[in-house]
Amino acid sequence: DTAVSQTPKYLVTQMGNDKSIKCEQNLGHDTMYWYKQDSKKFLKIMFSYNNKELIINETVPNRFSPKSPDKAHLNLHINSLELGDSAVYFCASSQRDRAPPLHFGNGTRLTVT
């Protein structure tokens, strides 16, 4: 069973479009995250949610809107996509009351043309 699963794995779209990436974890964790890995492989946190409550919001354009319908799901919606949004987006989960490790999904490669 996959612990943290993301869909889709690949996403190719044009500038200006709106797209969503979905993430689900079956580990029973209460905290979920979105990380962005840019073309230079640098990983940086975007958001974290704990029990559906936003905990971390790292200076991300408001075109990016996370949504957590329940603690097992954290989706990422991106409006008006720009070329610079092209990256690999990783979902992760952890138990907040214990130190990580975070469990990562396999990533969604977003290409904006």
Binding site: Y33, K41, L43, F90, P101, L102, H103, F104, N106
Partner: protein, 114 residues
């Protein structure tokens, strides 16, 4: 703010040779430190972690790392590298006061020569 430095962007070793990947961190308190591996097209897999206690920690796939407070380092080692170890390796430190925010180094790409 915490930061993590991985001084080596690329490292190439021969199969069977020993490996050491360097990681330095800056953090005022006792850090929680991690090493992750990312194979091409894959997500990150945790190799090992240090929270407290024994400064030499063992991980999966034969990796180990040693926490040295005096040097602010957490270097990853493996005595004998296999071709399947070729991947990118990330060191990370967690900022517990910011909701388990994991701060990553820039990564080190490991190439293995046969």
């Amino acid at each position: 703010a915490q930061s993590v430095t991985q001084p080596d962007i690329h490292i190439t070793v021969s199969e069977g040779a020993s490996l050491e990947l360097r990681c330095n961190y800056s953090y005022g308190a006792t850090p929680y430190l991690f090493w992750y591996v990312q194979s091409p097209g894959q997500g990150l897999q945790l190799l090992l972690k240090y929270f407290s206690g024994d400064t030499l920690v063992q991980g999966i796939k034969g990796f180990e790392a040693e926490f040295k407070r005096s040097q602010s380092s957490f270097n990853l080692r493996k005595p004998s590298v296999h071709w399947s170890d070729a991947a990118e390796y990330f060191c990370a430190v967690v900022q517990m006061e910011y909701g388990n925010k994991l701060v990553f180094g820039a990564g080190t790409i490991l190439r293995v020569k046969s």
